[in-house]
């Protein structure tokens, strides 16, 4: 049975009519055309579909639509309009941390989740914070360095 679900999507009111058991990932990609949310496994293992749910990092493939009534969802499309994104993007660019790019929207939102919790994380905290986001290209060093440098350069943003 279809349900009407109202939530905040990238800062704006959004409405979804459909099954409450639909995956947030599919709805974001198919109904809202937010294809920056990548699908890597649909099993909650790779983190490519990471979004922020009320500020917390979640795998959108593991979230049912029924869960998000009244919640706030931020995807890369919304986040990329922020000053924090600009700081992260510059830091990722400076060390060429983007290779194939498929993990990157999720990785950026994981970076945000780390810095929102602790504006000056240790390397260990950063590695722990992105450990649910698989990257097959980089070996992770460049991403860790980028987050460290965003924390430093973006002083005050978080």
């Amino acid at each position: 049975m279809d349900q009407n679900i109202v939530f905040q999507l990238n800062g704006e009111r959004a409405e979804y009519s459909g099954s409450a058991t639909a995956r947030l990932l599919d709805v974001l990609r198919d109904d809202f055309a937010l294809t920056g949310v990548k699908c890597g496994c649909k099993e909650g293992e790779c983190g490519a579909c990471s979004v922020l749910l009320d500020g917390k990092l979640v795998n959108s493939c593991m979230v049912a639509m029924g869960r998000i009534a009244g919640a706030s969802i931020v995807t890369i499309e919304g986040y990329s309009k922020t000053a924090r994104f600009a700081a992260l993007s510059a830091a990722y660019a400076a060390v060429s941390a983007v290779q194939c790019g498929y993990c990157i929207p999720g990785m950026i939102l994981a970076s945000e989740a780390i810095l929102a919790k602790n504006p000056h994380p240790s390397e260990e905290e950063i590695r722990d914070g992105i450990s649910g986001n698989l990257c097959r290209c980089t070996g992770y060093n460049a991403i860790v360095t980028a987050i460290q440098s965003a924390a430093k350069e973006g002083n005050g943003l978080w």
Partner: protein, 704 residues
């Protein structure tokens, strides 16, 4: 650092980081049809009948009878059918595709369609196979006499397992047949491979096939040949779809279970030692090719050419076979056959050194090849071999020898440490005469009247940064700002065939052609005019022609070199090990962009560590791959190897652009050997196989 090595912001940084880059799965699906492949559930069987199924309106199926051209996928030998005919050769062999407008409905139909099979005996274990797809023999010197005169002869067997590329973006294609032309775009490394394959399968002239590479979420070899297979299957469906696009995007399980992966191997080394020196190697290499040949011939060639390692051995006998089994066809994966043999030869050298009472590094150093020495195939190492300097660099970074001594003297407790080192090369570019005889690369530069220049070539940026590095080369020669030089994802309607994006060749070979083209454009430059220049591959003069029938000559014009040390700590109660650090020196010539190259080195290194340990993929007794998800096939995360340090050693290659040579594959190749050498020291046991699991470690220590 050379000016050209200084890093820039990558050309594709912005669209990838803000999520606007369109990968093949991201295109709006309105008006598209969805396809789902129905695959064999048996490792070997006769297809008796596809039972009639009442399809809803708008839905249809295609199978081998619908292939308008020849039902073969053009790869090397064209034995892979687009859709299976009478016999299926592995679990997953495609029999038909269901196509229709609603994806869920397509999935339902695909699960309900009944195919009747008559099961046939299958060969699942490579040791049971009697069918050699390829059987190569070569050698030099007089191994028989060397073995007869040896002080001691060592013989050991080494095994390596599957490795899945695990690119984050699964395979996918979208094809349309309209106005007598088949257009397809998708996730792929080699637009012209796909182009040639479709032309043959659909019986179309080349001008009626168009292939465009989409932004591609990683390849690592997995998108070298496999996309040709998938593209033909989707193209056949599109041919019947009345002009509508047909879309097939794999989910992770389908991708992991049924696409190509690294060949499992079984290598036997017999080594003769006289007066403390290796005098001969007799090497037998077996690769498990799976059900069809795909790329096995060339993977095997590279593997066996590298099989004596970086050592000067006067007498060599090598046999290499790619055996048919009724399992998923194996193919290209970063390193292309060399990781298997380098694991074996490096471990073999360690074991001989241990028996002789010598430290492995010292023993290896006494055997290193140097400039001017002959290669395994009677070619020559034409350029300096910087291994001694690189060993010193890795010593300094890792403290290898000091740790080695310390851990040798340590008392065995619950936690044990070990450190290991490995040395290796990677032949730069295609094996043998591939560039000269088969690829014949062509590149163009097009200058518009406004002075902007577009690169026309068929290299795919799959994350390795080729879009950026090629543009840097051209901008540098033309003295243009980087944003005045562009390189779009290749479109076979617009770009010449500069060859595939494989074999660590793109930057070295195509980059040099573009550098020369840019020099010519500079000399012919006319303001406000539209100009095009073209450059074609010419084999360098110094190369000794390679003859594949005899495995004689220069298999590669030059080599990239590597030294790596790995330090581990093993908990002998659980068998679990931690990598405390991985240090490496890599020589890929001049880095055309320092950050890009270091990113390649670090990423490849970590893939190599995963290959040796956590990346386990096995088949059950029916031949089905069990590890088909990221829950069961574990790849390294950010916490697995926190200390991973890379140094670039630069030995310039005079025929590469600004001294650059092949880079992409090198860092993976020898990492398992360095890792397992460390594990051997920690565990005081010999390791003969990878992946090496916690259970394996426990099994060894349980007997103490």
């Amino acid at each position: 650092m050379k000016e050209i090595s200084k890093s820039v912001i990558k050309k594709d940084h912005q669209p990838k980081i803000d999520g606007s880059a369109l990968y093949v799965g991201d295109y709006p699906q309105e008006g598209m049809l969805h396809g789902r492949i129905v695959r064999s559930p048996y490792a070997r069987a006769r297809v008796v009948e596809i039972k009639p199924y009442a399809l809803p309106e708008g839905y249809f199926t295609v199978d081998h009878r619908d292939v308008p051209g020849i039902n073969e996928v053009h790869i090397v030998k064209d034995d892979t059918p687009v859709y299976a005919e009478e016999i299926v050769e592995y679990i997953g062999d495609p029999v038909l595709m269901v196509v229709g407008p609603d994806e869920q409905e397509v999935l339902r139909i695909a699960s309900e369609i009944e195919v009747v099979y008559e099961q046939l005996p299958a060969v699942l274990n490579v040791r049971d196979s009697e069918t050699a797809f390829f059987d190569y023999n070569f050698g030099k010197g007089d191994p028989d006499t060397a073995f007869a005169e040896a002080d001691k002869v060592y013989e050991e067997e080494f095994e390596t397992g599957y490795q899945e590329q695990a690119y984050l973006e699964p395979q996918g294609m979208i094809a349309t047949f309209a106005d007598s032309k088949l257009s397809i775009h998708g996730s792929l490394q080699c637009p012209y491979y796909v182009h040639g394959a479709i032309a043959k399968a659909l019986g179309l002239t080349p001008d009626r096939v168009r292939v465009v590479q989409d932004v591609t979420g990683g390849g690592f070899g997995g998108k070298e040949a496999y996309p040709s297979i998938l593209a033909c299957q989707v193209a056949v469906a599109a041919y019947r779809a009345g002009g509508k696009p047909v879309r097939v995007i794999f989910d992770r399980r389908e991708d992991m279970e049924f696409t190509s992966k690294r060949h499992p191997s079984l290598s036997t080394y017999r080594v003769a030692v006289k007066d403390g020196r290796v005098t001969a190697m007799d090497i037998d290499v077996i690769f498990n090719a799976g059900g069809y040949t795909t790329l096995s011939a060339v993977v095997l060639q590279r593997g066996i050419i590298a099989s004596p390692g970086v050592y000067k051995v006067e007498n060599i006998r090598v046999r290499g076979r790619a055996m048919k089994t009724n399992t998923v066809p194996t193919g290209a994966y970063r390193g292309f056959g060399a990781p298997q043999t380098f694991f074996a030869v490096e471990m073999m050298m360690n074991h001989i050194a241990r028996d002789l009472g010598e430290e492995p590094l010292a023993f290896k150093q006494r055997h290193l090849v140097k400039q001017g020495d002959p290669t395994s195939t009677g070619g020559i190492y034409h350029f300096p071999v910087p291994l001694p300097e690189m060993i010193a660099e890795v010593e300094q970074m890792s403290g290898y020898s000091q740790k080695r001594t310390e851990y040798n003297a340590a008392k065995p407790g619950r936690y044990r440490r070990g450190v290991g080192i490995a040395l290796w090369f990677h032949g730069a570019g295609f094996t043998g005469s591939g560039e000269r005889d088969h690829i014949k690369a062509v590149t163009r530069l097009h200058k518009s009247a406004d002075g902007r220049v577009e690169i026309l070539a068929s290299q795919s940026d799959i994350g390795q940064g080729i879009k950026t590095t090629l543009c840097k080369i051209v901008a540098n020669e033309l003295n243009l700002p980087l944003d005045h030089v562009t390189y779009n994802n290749p479109d076979t309607d617009r770009v010449p065939d500069s060859g595939p994006t494989v074999a660590s060749r793109s930057l070295m070979t195509v980059g040099e052609l573009l550098r020369r083209a840019a020099i010519r454009l500079r000399s012919e430059w006319k303001d406000a005019e539209d100009q095009t220049v073209e450059e074609r591959f010419v084999e360098p003069d110094f190369v000794i022609p390679f003859y594949i029938e005899k495995f004689q000559g220069d298999a590669y014009p030059t080599y990239a070199w590597a030294v790596s040390a790995v330090e581990v700590e093993v908990d002998t109660l659980t068998g679990v090990n931690k990598v405390l650090g991985a240090w490496a020196s890599f020589d890929v010539g001049t880095p055309i962009d320092y950050n890009i190259v270091v990113g390649q080195m670090e990423g490849g290194l970590l893939q190599g560590l995963g290959y040796a340990s956590m990346e386990q993929m096995a088949a059950d007794q029916t031949g089905r791959i069990r590890n088909n998800s990221f829950s069961d096939y574990i790849i390294p995360t950010s916490v697995d190897v926190p200390v991973l340090q890379v140094k670039m050693h630069v030995e310039e290659y005079p025929l590469g652009p600004y001294g650059a040579k092949g880079a992409g594959e090198l860092p993976l190749v020898g990492m398992p050997a360095a890792y397992m050498a460390a594990m051997e020291q920690a565990l005081h046991q010999s390791i003969q196989h990878i992946p090496f699991s916690a259970e394996d470690a426990l099994f060894g220590t349980a007997h103490e």
